[in-house]
C-alpha cells in the first residue's frame, strides 16, 4: 500500500516536469513536390 502511495506521489511530482516543455506554435515552410 505504501509503495502505491509513494509511486502515486512520484508520478504527481514528475508529470508537471514532463509537460513543462513543448512547441506552442510552428510556422513551417512547405513546398509542393512534383
Amino acid at each position: 500500500m505504501k509503495r502505491i502511495v509513494v509511486l502515486g506521489l512520484m508520478i504527481l511530482l514528475l508529470v508537471p516536469q514532463l509537460v513543462q516543455a513543448e512547441f506552442l506554435r510552428v510556422q513551417l515552410k512547405i513546398y509542393g513536390m512534383d
Binding site: 516543455a21 506552442l24 506554435r25 510556422q27 513551417l28 515552410k29 512547405i30 513546398y31 513536390m33
Partner: protein
Amino acid sequence: VRVAVKKIDGVKSVEVSLNHGVADIILQPDNAVSLDRIRQIVLDNGFSPREAEVVVKGHVMQKDSQPVLKVSGLKDVIYPLTEAPEAKGKMVELLKTTSKQTEKVVTIRGLIEQPKKPSMTPRLLVREFKLEGGE
C-alpha cells in the same frame, strides 16, 4: 496536409497557405508533439518541409559547454542554440547563470532549419526569449 496535421493529438488549429508556402500550426498546452512528427506528416502528404519559425518552451542549459534547449515530450530533443542579433546577447547573459544544476525554463521564438540529414538535430536560432516563472 491541413487535415492530416489537424488529426495529430495536441494540435489546436492549422492554416495552410499554398501561395505563401506556409503551414501555421497552433498547439494546445501540455502537448507532446514533435517537430519531426509534423515534418514527417507533411512529407507523407506530398509536400517538402523546410525551415520552421517556432515558439517553443523548454529547459535551457549548458551541454558540453554549448548552450542547448531541451524539449521534453515522447522523446527528449536537444536543440543547440545560436543567438540572433535581435536577441541582443541576453541569452548569453542568462546562460552565465545556468549550469547542469540550475536549468531555466524559457519560451523561445526562433528559427529551426531543415536538418540536412534526418538523424541530425538542427540548431535553433533564438530571436527572442522569455524566462518563465522568474527562475
